[in-house]
Symmetry: C5
Subunit: 354 residues, 5 copies
């Protein structure tokens, strides 16, 4: 949770534009993958150094450079210089704790969003993806902690199916965003399953652990909401076509991804309302069980206390207790006790306690 | 519940514009029904193939083509080509998990909304209806899981009563939306009945099952709210007459259906507030009953514990207990017990516990 | 409650503009009352038929036609034709389940609002009032279930006091709305009294019935809120003087009634917040009383259980129990018991349980 | 509470513009105080009759007429005529149940706001203050139930300190509003003290009375919020300088008072959130204490019930109970009892109940 | 808490523009530090008197004057005169209870914001910082209760690293705001740690103290929210470049700090939601423990009450109780008791109470 902020404090006190990686430190090499394509040709390349991407700068074809790993300030710095990115953009790429946002720097658009990935034990992990959309290139920067969701797009470019090869970098950027948002539905489905399991647990055997799970889920939904909510504005302003980098034919597609984002947000809100309803249900079930326990106690006590008293009465050692000497004293008392118990049972029956 | 999202994941990873049906798979044949009318004539036809609808494309009369079943991508694809629909529209028609929306594609308007149907055991089912409003035609696409609410409109067209035959496709589209929204009131009434039943149950005999029903109802209302809320904007922007496809004479009717939508939303909100009030009432009634149970226990214990103690006292076997030998020891003790019980009863009476 | 919707379903499936009364059916005759006035003269008349109101159509004087009863479609239909009202207006007049609204039809304004009336046992009843403001006439339509609040206006017209005779139909329409809104304060006052009673009950003797009353009140406030809230917009847009039917001199008066509406809404919101506070207070008082009950039980049990044990100890029949033969065994045990009881009492005293 | 509305009903049914006092009736004389000043001179006067204020109407100096008491319709009526006020303004002045508002009548601005005063036992009282700002005069109308907060302004005018004598009526009106808003902080401070006391009470000794106080405080905060919230808009639109009556040099001062109003609203919201947190804390403390009580009961019962049973066992009168005749039967049983009690105590110790 | 308002009341009744310090009174000397720089040179100076800062007024270089201590009205007054500040600005600087705001006085911008500092025992302290941005100077005023967060900026100016020396006063003002906002993340991280500790405490050993801590945290978050929320608007309007004092090259940096502010607000909201979830979890855990306690009590009572009754039965002294004389009466009764206990234990086992 405080994971969210801890990252930041590494940077407190540094001048703006300082390139400091705030994510979980990684020592692996940064990998830079280039796909360059137009309607006829596709070429792919793994770049060894940043310098090698200079020729792609001004090629008329669409170039997609995907950088896996944003922890190496030196590499990113040269990258930024090569493509003429603002220092603040480079800083934001490395600072993996950004809020989703869209910034228009004239010659390029800078978009930050969150990729959601399900960890091994089902908890949701977020990874920051930065997308830079230029006139003839798209740069994407990932933290590279886990795999990504872009393979389907690579395959589509290679095979040349669909519209992607016939369109420009704006459609590619849209495709990347769409792939990320589509993956949200996978995450949502997993959350939906967990909620359904919790609902069953709540009805069948609610324990204190159930509450912990509810609280855990609530926490994850809060974070999820936070990661997705600003995306709404990002995609909305992308679709308003204020930048000439987004062509008119791409707008309906952006509008489509906007619908998906709204859908995700709606679903998260629905889940949150359900979670709150589940808590109420839990509390009422605890109260109910307490009631049941108390009823058992009360029934037992109410039946046996008078009986024990009567027994104690005739256990007194007074000399002069005529009943003790009666011929049918004992059975009479047993009968009396039976009557008392019967009345009590009848009373509880009528009250529907038993 | 996660039904909402499960559908989507069938599509994750496919390029945009892929026609994949995301609803509950159905193998029945798709049925295509055409009604073509102007003020004088009505002709009806069940089309065997999509090709047969080409002549209707440019007829000056109003043509309503209703497609029952959106699971056959091939048919829909040819449909889309015939009427010049955008691929994304075709995709949205098949993806039955859309949020209600209105999209203006210039030559036609694309409207998605939800038809509500009550299942056998009273739970609410939704079915997606897509309406495409062109210059001289209206296309409607239903999932076709259950019956629809359009028969009354068919009858009205056939009989030529009302304004419908004298007006164009915009009025027809309005009529379809109106029929769907009118049916919401039927659903709301059923919900109202269930709420009233719950209220009675809550006052007369609240159990843990009542809470489950309340939670269930809350869940349905959340989904209902979600299905209806975006419709507000859809109908509102339809009535703003930004598209030339909606004529000025139709606007008051659209405004009227807008009022109905607002009314439905208001009612859902009222129901939700009631539901939350019912939960409070349930919790307080559980607490109350606990209180009552505890009072019974306390009254019984408080009366019999002292009595039993006194009895136990005179059941001790000390040699030297003068009271035991007294002539009236026994009746005196009985009297003492009666006094103790009396005091206790008086105390509880004053406390209004009995 | 579902009263709200039940009405609607009578209409589901009918074409728009169908005149169907959705209120509680009434068989009494519809009464039509006309007051026609200018600064000099007033004439009053009870019309026998709708036809009789045709001459009032174009009279230069101000004509107020009040229709009591909207269940007779035939009468209303002729009315609508006579004054050139849109079919949807006539439909809304008969459909007594409208949301308050203002519709500008150019030649006339159509206003719907709710008259609030207190039923015999204090519950609030709503009656729909439709007002049509034309260039030289005002039509008002009431359900006529109970009396109305317009007598004071009739008296004012007859007596010629105040501004009403010197002004036109816009001032008359304002006066009608003002009379209805003024009456809301009477209803609010009654609600305020009930809330005060509930507060006293809550402090002095809260029972489960109190919760039911709170819930009941909450329900009524929800409905009230719903009936009044849209009025805000109605009066606001009336005061914006977008229609030439509302003259500039009348605007300050409309603004005044707007203030009143805001005031009513504020009061309802205050009441709702109070109601929610009362529920919290109730729950805490139930918890408190439970605490108190449990303390009594615990004190009694904690004192008498050890004593009874001691008594039981010396009631054992072992042969060899030296204490039983001691000279002062009995008083010693009594003393021991007194000490135990004393310690317990001291302990509870210190814990402030007694 | 329903005080809020009760006032209104005195008026229900009267024509608009009827001058009816809706506050707590007062029979004392209305006092009219005039201060007339410019940069050089100040004159003060207590007016005997309304007529005496006519000469002030058109004096070039700044005239401040303060009217203490708004229950005398006759006096107010002549006042209104003298200064050319709209009948609705006069009505609103007398109707002491207004929402704070600003109305621009062209030649003068009419401002209503609430003066807050702390009653003897700390509860907050509101008094309506109406301010009319003209080209060369300021009229202020108070209910005059308690003292006012304007003395400091009178002193400032008399002494000529500060800007007030060098500026016009707009600065005077600002000063009056500022004095009223400044006094809100005094009220807020008193509320803050009460909240702090409640917090201490809540931690040290929460009782049912604490809840009543919390509820009481909540109620007062709701009313306070209602009295201050609309002021935001009033001061904001005053500062927007739409009327030529407010000069540009006064605008920064109005903006300053706007900041204060926002501050007051923020504080009220903070207090309300605290109050709701306190209620949660109270409920949890009640639950905790219940838990504690139940633990004591359970510990006692669990220890003594088995012991009493054992004692009862050997109190049975069977002929053939070998243990009774054993030499060390009695001490053995005592030992057994000690072991049972020990086990129980150990169990509770481990559970941290004792 | 009422600290918030107490300050204000020192001022109630004084004319606007009165310079009264409302913070915690301090007697130390006010220290005035000047840094004057351009791209080539830096000079630093501790001023002995206000008069000494006059030469800096019109120097073409960028001058940053930091005033530590705002309690000396005389000094501030001369300051205000020297730099031509409005009296209301000087008043707001001394009144350390401002809401964050931005005011455009044409020749300079006046910005108020809150510096957050963590006190010794972790509680958050706020200190007001006022920044005046002129054409060639920046004035910063601190309360000077604790250290500040500006040292890093001083170091950057001295060393000439980064952009700061190459840019003007707008970038300096941005840097100050950025330093303050960056420090918020440190505070947030500390809060995050406390929340994590509380979560652990809640799961492992929740006590009434936990609730107090939760309430305490909630209170701090409310205040924090209040201190940061208005900053959003301040920075936003600073970035809208409405004043010519903020150059276009600085705008991206302001936009960056805006992102940070949003981030802080998001985090506070997340924390608040978590806090509310923790309270629910606490309440449910209390209920659960009560349930557990009651189960122990009920199990014990339900087992021993019948046994004790049976023992009491055979402890009665009736002459004629055949069982007492039976050969195996005693073992038979013991067996009966074992059976009863066994049944009870089985019953509870099945109910999962033990």
């Amino acid at each position: 949770m405080s994971r969210l902020n801890r990252k930041r404090t590494k940077k407190a006190g540094l001048p703006s534009g300082s390139l400091v990686y705030t994510g979980e430190r990684k020592d692996e090499k940064v990998s830079i993958h280039v796909i360059d394509y137009d309607e006829q040709n596709v070429t792919e390349e793994d770049l060894a150094s940043v310098a090698a991407c200079i020729p792609y700068r001004n090629k008329p074809t669409t170039t997609w450079i995907n950088v896996d790993g944003v922890h190496d300030a030196a590499i990113l710095e040269r990258f930024g210089e090569c493509f003429g990115l603002h220092r603040l953009v480079m800083e934001d790429i490395m600072n993996t704790d950004q809020r989703p946002k869209l910034e228009d720097y004239g010659e390029y658009l800078y978009i930050v969003l969150k990729m959601l990935l399900a960890g091994r034990n089902g908890e949701i992990q977020t990874e920051q993806v930065s997308i830079v959309l230029g006139a003839n290139f798209v740069l994407s920067f990932q933290e590279g902690l886990e795999g990504d969701v872009f393979n389907i797009i690579r395959d589509r470019i290679r095979s040349g199916k669909g519209r992607i090869r016939k369109t420009g970098p704006d459609y590619l950027a849209y495709s990347l965003i769409d792939a990320i948002v589509d993956n949200y539905f996978v995450i949502l489905e997993k959350l939906g399953d967990r909620i359904e399991l919790l609902e069953t647990e709540l009805i069948e055997n609610p324990t204190q652990k159930t509450v912990h799970k509810i609280y855990q889920l609530k926490r994850e939904l809060i974070f999820l909401h936070n990661a997705v909510w600003p995306l709404r504005e990002v995609v909305s302003s992308l679709g308003k076509q204020e930048s000439s980098l987004v062509r008119e034919t791409t707008v309906p597609y952006v509008r489509d991804v906007y619908d998906h984002v709204i859908h995700v947000i709606d679903s998260i809100d629905i889940y949150r309302e359900m979670i709150s309803g589940m808590l109420d249900m839990y509390l009422s079930s605890v109260s109910n069980r307490l009631n049941e326990v108390m009823k058992v106690l009360t029934v037992i006590a109410t039946i046996f206390m008078p009986l024990t008293f009567v027994a104690g009465l005739y256990g007194m050692n007074f000399k002069d207790m005529p009943e003790l000497d009666w011929r049918y004293g004992y059975p009479a008392v047993l009968g009396l006790m039976a009557v008392i118990a019967g009345i009590m049972l009848f009373y509880f029956k009528r009250k529907k306690w038993i």
